[in-house]
Amino acid sequence: MFKKSILATSLLAVAATASADWPEKPLELIVAYSAGGGTDVTARVLQPLLEKELGQSVVVVNRPGAGGEVGHAALASAEPDGYTIGIVNLPPMLTIPITRDASFNVDDIIPVAGLVQDPSAISVPSSSPFQTLDELVAFAKENPGAVTVGTTGVGTDDHLAVRYLAKEADITLTHVPFAGAGPARTALLGSHVSAAALNLGEAMPAAEEGKVRILAQFGTESSELAPEVPTALSLGFDVAMLSQRGLGLPAGVDPAIVARLSEAVANVANDEAFITRNHELYTEVSYMSADDFAAHIESLSADYQTLWDESPWQ
């Protein structure tokens, strides 16, 4: 009995010292998308600041494939020693296991911190007759299926936003998927579709140049980057859909390490330089602690599961 408690205490001490010294060697930061893309840029803006916080080098490793599945699976199956961290993307991290027989489960990843977000939004070309979302909805009610809405792909936050909106407004929209934000934006600029659902950050540069008009954004509150764009909520449509990026660790990592990493990320999120750079990239910094992030993920996961069970979107 005594021996056992000595063993337990010494193990605890070892574990405590192990995590107290973390990190002792370089870390690997997994990005589930290719180099040069939005998530990659977020990671690379984060990287030098995180290195300063942790005192160890952080190497960004891209693991693209299967719409983010490969990268998230790589994070989920990595050694839970705290030296492999990854950027987690919402909604992909949640929707991929729901929509197909994926190679990872949501429970295999520990949410560490929420970092940045970019709400989905619906925009029209500047030459479009629709000045407000209400006008578009009214037209769609009169002419079911006439309004074509381009999105960034099947199963993306933008696609889900369109589905939610159509359900809320009781209209029929024709969904036209494209191979990502770039092609969707090009189609919008060329007026090949009547409207497009893109993230606010994707649409804003064109909006600033007067080429598109953002009718509404699907965030929970007004965006500090575009305060004049109304939220769908404020217009009476109960739709909230954002693209979020945060950090995650594989399940099984020592909670002390999780806390330490979350703290480091919080410091980065408060850094002026980080906030400014993200604003230049049209993303909002919105830090969430490990517990908040985990709770958020749980509720989102339940929502998506319900939506999928009711009407599968692919």
Partner: protein
């Protein structure tokens, strides 16, 4: 339809294999080379690319008819060193852990 195309393609290949008069490798050399390459890839995931190169280069050189043993060894070592410099130092990539160089981050 895919099945049909696949079957007809395979049929075509089998039928014309013997009458091929292209400048490709002969069947023996080609198959042996491919087999070696397969072994190389398998060993690379276990032992690392560069460690595997140490046995792969001499093996394939022998297949290609190289006689001068010392030249083979010299070039193999030189190549492996250059490749190591290129991929690990210059590119700082993480690779499958090298047997001889230890875990690379």
């Amino acid at each position: 339809m895919i099945a049909f195309s696949a079957i007809s393609a395979i049929n075509q290949i089998l039928r014309t294999r013997d009458s091929a008069r292209t400048s490709e490798a002969s069947l023996i050399h080609g198959l042996a080379g491919l087999a070696l390459l397969g072994l190389f890839v398998a060993s690379a995931s276990a032992m690392g690319f560069l460690t595997s190169a140490l046995w792969f280069l001499p093996a394939m050189a022998m297949l290609g008819g190289e006689r001068h043993g010392w030249r083979v060894v010299l070039i193999t070592l030189l190549f492996t060193l250059l490749a190591w410099l290129l991929f690990h130092l210059v590119f700082a990539q993480s690779m499958p852990p090298e047997f001889i160089f230890g875990e690379v981050r």
